[in-house]
């Protein structure tokens, strides 16, 4: 009897890229629920426009590049990009900006470098950064979260979200329903020479352990991140390093200057901290390679995010911190090659 031959190994574990991507999307669900509960359904609108745009752009880019679009669309990676971008932008973003940001993320963040696996930068953060520097007003306008006071309701937030999504002028009808994020308010307050206890004492910026609204999203993202670590999708090095890079300097600074420097808990549970630590910085394609490299990479992201939050021109610093460390990856990789057995 004759047989076909093939090279060893003859068996594989059967992990697949789509399975990895699906787990990441699943882990975002708790953060999504918190987001929708506190900020209205705007996230769902952002998600839909981002996903549709991402799939269409991916298909078009693959066609232009003469590649088969079907397997690439099925791998789920472009949906992860869309989700991360939708979670990062304000839920009130008009739809065309969401579409523009997503299209640029997929094209300039991914396909100009050769598609999946080739991009040096995190595509979602490329899209986010372009939007932030181009449309600063729209990119910093958030709904006032429901846990600040009881004066407005979720249905009102839903109407606001739809109105804003289709581009209504928010200043006339919806004044008082929108505002800056907690980190933004603190920045502006500190710039006006208020002290931190004064600002926090108002109660509309931050609560017991974190920023209004964002604290819950961060908590839910942390839960999702722990799920990913438990499933072995994400290893601990990057998230732990990101949090250490952010929290260690903020702990020291807060100890030295409690009137001007945010406490570590507030840093941890405000803005995009947990999303960045567990979902954005952990994108393997644009991260450092070795475990040791990933520690440096994560710590660098946390530290630069802290520097930007403290002294920079933007309220949250994670998008730029991630992009800067993406840039440093070849350098980090060069100096963190693990020791080979026997060498």
């Amino acid at each position: 009897m004759r047989f076909d031959t093939s090279p060893a190994p003859h068996v594989i574990a059967g992990y697949t890229v789509p399975r990895v991507m699906f787990q990441v999307l699943l882990a975002l669900v708790p953060a999504g629920i918190a987001h929708v509960a506190l900020f209205g359904p705007g996230l769902l609108l952002q998600l839909s426009v981002a996903c549709v745009t991402a799939l269409l752009t991916e298909a078009a880019a693959l066609r232009w590049r003469g590649r088969d679009a079907v397997p690439a669309l099925k791998d789920g990676s472009v949906l992860v990009t869309a989700f991360l971008l939708a979670f990062s932008v304000p839920p009130l973003l008009p739809w065309w900006l969401g579409a523009l940001g997503t299209a640029l993320a997929v094209l300039l963040g991914k396909h100009v470098f050769g598609g999946l696996g080739q991009n040096p930068f995190n595509p979602a953060m490329v899209g986010y950064a372009i939007l932030l520097v181009s449309f600063p007003a729209e990119m910093t306008r958030w709904p006032v979260p429901l846990d600040v006071d009881g004066t407005h309701t979720w249905p009102e937030l839903a109407r606001l979200s739809f109105a804003s999504f289709y581009g209504a002028d928010l200043t006339s009808h919806w004044d008082g329903y929108t505002g800056a994020t907690a980190l933004d308010s603190i920045r502006n307050g500190l710039a006006l020479r208020y002290t931190l206890p004064e600002l926090l004492g108002r109660g509309d910026i931050a609560g017991e352990f974190g920023a209004r609204g964002f604290a819950w999203i961060n908590l839910a993202a942390l839960a999702g991140g722990i799920y990913l670590m438990a499933r072995g999708i994400v290893r601990w090095h990057i998230p732990v390093a990101v949090l250490a890079g952010l929290l260690v300097p903020s702990f020291i600074a807060h100890a030295l200057d409690s009137g001007g420097a945010l406490a570590p808990t507030l840093q941890a549970f405000s803005g995009a901290t947990m999303l960045a630590a567990f979902f954005i910085a952990t994108d393997p394609v644009s991260a450092a390679t070795s475990d040791r490299g990933r520690l440096w990479y994560g710590a660098g992201i946390g530290l630069i995010a802290w520097i930007i939050r403290t002294w920079g021109g933007y309220p949250d610093g994670f998008a730029f911190a991630v992009l800067l460390l993406n840039l440093a990856v070849p350098f980090i990789d060069r100096y963190t090659v693990p020791r080979i057995y026997g060498r």
Partner: protein, 504 residues
Amino acid sequence: MAVRSTFPAGLALDAHKQQACGAPIIELPQPPRVALALDQGSGYSAEPVVAVGATVAIGTLVARANHPYASALHSPLAGTVAAIETRDAATEGGRSVCIVIESDGSGRIDHRVRQAEGAASLSPDELIQWLRDAGIAGLGGAGFPTATKLAAGRARGTQTLVLNGAECEPWICSDDALMRSAADEVVLGAILLRRAAGAERCVIAIEDDKPAAIAAVTHAIERQRNAAQGDHDQRDDELTLAVVPAVYPQGAERQLITTVAGIEIRSGSLPADAGVICQNVATAAAVARWATRGEPILSRVVTVTGSGVEHPCNVRAPIGTPLSALIAAAGGYRGTPLRLIAGGSMTGRALPSDEVGVTKAMNCVLVATREDIGSRLGAVEMPCIRCGDCANVCPVGLLPQQLHRAAVADAHDSLRELGVRDCIDCGLCDYVCPSQIPLADRFRDARRRLNEADAMAARAADARQRHETRTHRLLEAAAAEQQAFESVRNRVRQSGDDPAGGTG
């Protein structure tokens, strides 16, 4: 030397061993014909010493080992040499010259096969020579001649002999079966091997998922000590058992040495350089068979398993027996066998035909159906997403994702720097890759190209050297001629006598 208690990473795999390991070893009857591959798995061929038509008996030497990496071959049958021809074989490339012997049914035994009396009193050098003559080679899967390894160990000074009974690869359980049924042979072989290597101690390493084998070997060691009680020369207190974690690839030579001896073997050097020699437990048992019965390697235990056979089992099969006979002993084919694999699912070699003969290196025949290997058959390669799962399992601490880039680019300097030659070909990176990239095969290919390039560079350097030497030689000859000419001319001028007629 760096000390590391365990090698980097590895992975616990589904063992698939219970299928074949329940029943005792089946003694296969002598087949009507055998095909003895001159290359028994080490990659080097023995040289036939019989001609077609020659009459041989059981144990007659039919091929001699002229290369230190080849092993001598003996006929497992009494009969005649029917052919010496290239055939499908379980060797690198799938083809080897084979000596085909047809049985005459007489069962005559060669008179040179005899009681190897007093093996215990032989000197280490004599022992090594006898092992070479008996064609004893690594039965763990490498087929490397035992004598050559022992000689290297003696030359460098050996502290530790590690007997490898880890058997980490999925499906294979021939060593397990052998240790359960013939632990005394393993222990006797261990003592002889230790003496031949001049090692201070011997450690038998068994993975912790083989409790029966561990118990059998423990008892055999105790029996040996009790039997040799009082006889100081025969008693071996330096023979111990080490139970090691069942993590693939625990049984890989360097990885096992690191686990057992706590030392790391330097890249590019041999374990013998670090004072360690590794031998398989089945090899030890073969040494004992030779010492007690005077029998060279004529047969070996082979696991016949997989979803593609009716009754997975272990058989003791004469070397050269066609695999179809082994599969018949396991109840024949079942379902739709898609691959016939010599070895396990991780590193085994897919064979083209079941007429291939058993070799000394063949510890397992895996008859795989879609149930066993469907994951690989259905794999669709996708781009690397640099997830690093491969690096997390690599037992050598390599970065397969970086190596893959270098392999695709055929960047030789990067391949060397990233350690493509340190890769032990265990296949784990391939196994875990979510992009289902056939990494192991890419790296094999890259190593081959690297070797070719190095050979080419060596040839070029050699040619340049030759050219430079020749140029230098010619210049020197010309200079010598010139000098001779001038000295004659000077002499002639000084004497004022010009034999050439004064035109000079």
